[in-house]
Amino acid sequence: MLVVENLTKTFGGVTAVSDVSFTVEKGTTHAVIGPNGAGKTTLFNLITGVYTPTLGSIRLEGVEIGGIAPEKLARRGVSRTFQNLQVSMNLSALENVMTGAHLELNSSLVAAMVRWPGIAAKDRALRARAAELLDFVGCGRYAGADARSMPYGALKRLEIARALAADPKILFLDEPAAGLNHTETHEIEGLIAELGRRGITVVLVEHDMKLVMSVSTRIVVLDYGKKLAEGTPEEIRTNRDVIAAYLGAETEGA
């Protein structure tokens, strides 16, 4: 489904992602883990078109997508959420989710101006589907709320609902449980497991190891931009390099 080969990104002198290769199989949940600053978000930004790779290739279903803009990748079924919330606070929760299905709708300004037949009916149908998606991610009670009035945990889920509204082939989740309490993290874990059961290909960055170990089919470990290890949760749990990197990171942090 997704093949990343020798991917490298440098910012001036900093090499944020260095010669990373891995493959994500269709229908699996793939985790990318690593200490802070390891290059996980940069990797996501490269694959989702926010950054252009310095070197290397990214192929989605056999087609090279490196350097293609996010709005074009959306047409190819790539969707994502953000580590730092990216919700339109000037919209309601429902409207935010509805923007996820933007590509299904007629967005011509002239057609909108004259209320071109069909636009409103399609939008009403989408509104209903958006409400279902909000329900699905556990935000049903915020359907009528303004995004700015919602708590942080609900906004994290709102981003997932918006991404799902695009009906993505592959979904990138950047730290969906960051900043959530224990119960909320557990609920997000259940949600991601459900996405897996529904056959959605998920690539996940997350620091919560319990969550990662429980939902992932495979795990890639990054450290200082390089791939340190890759394997099943069981293999990663017992990998010496990984343990060393994490212990190292913890001592540095202390």
Binding site: V87, L91, T99
Partner: protein
């Protein structure tokens, strides 16, 4: 209970949302019978022209989050385009208006394509420059424009029907205000309108769901420029005489101020903002020199006490109380 669940007058799907429009139409239809003399008609026409320009400009500023400091330049290009083509080249006014609007639309589109690829506030800078260039050209090309002294503009006529005098023009401008309100409201309530607000809220999130943010900004900018040009053309024919002042930088700032005071991303805000700020100088005129100060103080007071603009602040206030 959230504000959205309360069926307020401005909510998209509420049956009550036609009430403000009905009031506007009623007011516009009654005014000609109560206005005492042509001076008041002139004020009403200037207000209507500003409302129409400001509604379109608000789509750019309030919805796309892009500022244009050169909209008076587009208005001026429309005014002079029509004036020159009809008086020096004897084009039919309607053709001159359409041709000018198309050229201005293309110009705006080209500027936006070049500028909006870069994000941030480059558009404000570029339009500031463009507005100044337009001003200079209109002032210096006196062979065509009459220079600083201005030029006269023939009457407007369409299909042999001549439009002249304040009372006839009033109906044209009033009709355009209603059209602008209806069209802008339709855009705002459509998926395109939602996409515009989404890209203002988070550009990157909008792009990731497939919203071509640069294309939307370009199209809205061009649309708002065309509206300004058309209103410039019609205003030129109505006034019968124009000077480069119509394209001045201070006019551009006035238009932006009307958007902000009325309320960003609010169609009715634009109606009130434009009406209020067009009226103010006339109302304050008897303050003899103090009107600029009063004008400034009213602006500052609005910004401090109604930071979201007059109409959105009032709507929020009332829906909160009742919701």
């Amino acid at each position: 209970m959230t504000s959205l669940s309360f069926p307020n007058l401005l909510e998209p799907r509420s049956p009550m949302r036609f009430v403000p429009l009905a009031i506007l139409v009623a007011v516009l239809a009654t005014l000609p019978f109560v206005l005492p003399n042509v001076w008041y008609f002139d004020v009403a026409i200037r207000i209507a022209a500003n409302i129409t320009v400001v509604i379109a400009l608000n789509l750019l500023i309030g919805h796309c989050g892009q500022i244009s400091l050169g909209h008076a330049g587009f208005f001026g290009l429309g005014a002079y385009g029509s004036a020159i083509l009809t008086s020096l080249y004897a084009w039919p006014p309607m053709l001159a208006l359409a041709a000018t609007a198309i050229v201005v639309g293309l110009l705006a589109w080209l500027v936006a394509v070049a500028i909006l690829r870069l994000q941030g506030h480059y558009l404000a800078m570029a339009t500031l420059g463009l507005g100044i260039i337009v001003s200079i050209v209109l002032t210096n090309e006196s062979a065509f424009t009459g220079g600083p002294d201005g030029m006269s503009v023939p009457d407007f006529a369409v299909f042999g029907l001549r439009i002249a005098g304040e009372k006839a023009w009033y109906w044209v401008f009033a009709g355009l205000v209603v059209a602008a309100v209806v069209f802008a409201t339709n855009i705002v309530e459509s998926p395109a309108g939602r996409a515009l607000r989404a890209l203002h809220g988070s550009e990157i999130a909008a792009r990731v769901v497939g919203i071509d943010t640069a294309s939307f900004k370009t199209r809205v900018f061009a649309l708002s420029a065309v509206v300004a040009a058309v209103m410039g053309s019609l205003s030129a024919h109505y006034m019968g005489f124009i000077t480069p002042g119509v394209a001045g930088f201070s006019k551009s700032v006035e238009l932006v101020t009307m958007v902000v005071v009325g309320g960003l991303a609010s169609v009715w805000g634009s109606v009130f903002g434009a009406a209020l700020l067009t009226l103010l100088p006339d109302v304050l005129a008897h303050l003899e020199g103090w009107e600029t100060l009063a004008f400034g103080m009213i602006l500052v007071a609005t910004m401090i006490f109604l930071p979201r603009g007059i109409v959105p602040s009032l709507v929020a206030f009332f829906t909160k109380k009742e919701g």
